[in-house]
């Protein structure tokens, strides 16, 4: 298990696909938005949390198809499936590795990038929390999508098509959490919901994913 985690992390770093790039993509999306919608603070501030969340979501989405695809192509996946590791565990580890290389760095960077979007300083903290709780869910759900599409050579777009609608609840609660906080409203409900989604996803999805993998390896 740990061996697998370490290997994936090492590969992520070696292949230059690791921490740096997920971040960079995040940064660039954040930068593109002002070019698109115009630089005025009064336009940017209200949409800042939303944009940050959407950007984080896309950044983690972009690296999903690699969760299993590479291992599938070079045969590692079949070997892992016949190895003593439980496939559920493998799936879980894969999601974890994805989060460590994508979700976590994003979470840490988001508040700083918020400055670029004139994010209201008071919400920095909440943004951080919401991402910290929310992004793991994104990785797990995405991992499930990756497991479904691993057989298909050009799964990339299909993957995002399957995964994005499943991201909606996480996204909504995440941004609601920040917005309500900014408006001084009570934000317990979204907080709890967000945590619930993450917990539930981690508890159940690995089984579905393992099932999908077994089918795809047939």
């Amino acid at each position: 298990m740990i061996a697998l985690l370490l290997r994936d992390l090492r590969l992520a770093v070696r292949a230059g696909g690791g921490f740096g790039l997920g971040l960079a993509f995040f940064l660039i999306v954040i930068m593109l938005v002002p070019f698109g919608v115009g630089p005025e603070a009064d336009i940017l501030t209200p949409i800042a949390p939303g944009i940050l969340w959407v950007a984080a979501l896309l950044a983690s989405l972009l690296s999903l198809d690699r969760i299993f695809a590479l291992d599938f192509e070079d045969g590692s996946l079949a070997l892992l499936a016949t190895a003593p590791l439980p496939l559920e565990g493998v799936a879980m580890i894969k999601a974890l590795a994805h989060w460590l290389t994508t979700g976590l760095p994003l979470t840490i960077a988001a508040p700083f990038l918020g400055i670029l979007l004139h994010l209201d300083p008071s919400s920095f903290w909440l943004l951080f929390v919401s991402l910290l709780i929310g992004t793991p869910a994104l990785s797990v759900i995405g991992m499930f999508g990756a497991a479904l599409t691993v057989g298909l050579r050009r799964g990339g777009l299909l993957l995002s098509l399957l995964v994005l609608p499943m991201y909606v609840p996480t996204l909504i609660f995440g941004t609601e959490l920040v917005r309500r906080g900014a408006e001084g409203m009570a934000y317990e409900t979204p907080l709890v919901m967000l945590a619930g989604i993450t917990a539930g996803a981690f508890a159940l999805i690995p089984f579905a994913a393992a099932g999908a993998l077994r089918i795809n390896l047939k």
Partner: protein, 211 residues
């Protein structure tokens, strides 16, 4: 291999399907500890399919396959080598997955000593293949299902591999089922799968239900 001595691999009239069509049926054989079996047969007869079935990657549509739980390993055309990792890292990863450690004889046995710290991506076809095979030396499994293990190996490396099988794996009471087109010079019985192609008039398909 550990408690290998006791066990045998028993396959009794297995049928397996590929692409919705039964390619082999009535395959039966058993291999006892310390023995190997060579699968022969023309391209497309079903060697890979059979090996995948034995390894449990797909289920047989008929028949039974018996051997001790969690003692088998599978090696195929794609040998799961990570180009971004060094030879050593590749091996020790698989060792860890199987709760083993990489013993040094493995590097000699597969002539990888000089390449030990090379990135796998920088190996030549045959060197990479040797690495893929070395994996079998570190996972300590008793029952090996090997699909064309010697592809793109030179004569010398083929010899190395045959020695490993004969003197290490089988000598320790392991079992091996090997699909190959070339002669490995093992003293092992051969099984030609052409004999198990189901007669044209009763070919089963996975869509039987619709007929």
């Amino acid at each position: 291999p550990s408690n290998a001595s006791a066990m045998t691999l028993t396959v009794s009239n297995v049928a397996c399907v590929r692409g919705g069509r039964t390619v082999l049926s009535g395959v039966s054989f058993d291999v006892t500890a310390g023995q190997a079996l060579i699968l022969k047969g023309p391209n497309g007869v079903g060697k890979t399919t059979l090996l995948r079935t034995l390894a449990g990657l797909q289920d047989p549509v008929a028949g039974t396959i018996e051997f001790a739980e969690d003692t088998a390993a599978y090696a195929s055309h794609a040998d799961g080598v990570k180009t971004q990792l060094s030879v050593e890292e590749n091996l020790s990863f698989w060792a860890q997955v199987y709760d083993q450690t990489v013993e040094d004889w493995v590097y000699d046995a597969f002539d990888l000593t000089d390449l030990r710290h090379r990135l796998a991506g920088t190996l030549s076809a045959g060197q990479k293949r040797r690495l893929g095979l070395a994996r079998l030396g570190v996972i300590g499994r008793d029952v090996l299902f090997l699909d064309e293990p010697t592809v793109s190996l030179d004569g010398f490396s083929v010899k190395l591999f045959a020695d490993f099988l004969q003197n290490r794996h089988l000598a320790n009471g392991g079992i091996a089922v090997i699909a190959t087109h070339i002669d490995l010079k093992l003293d092992a019985p051969e099984l030609d799968l052409s004999g198990f192609i189901p007669p044209a008039d009763d070919i089963q398909t996975s869509d039987e239900a619709f007929l």
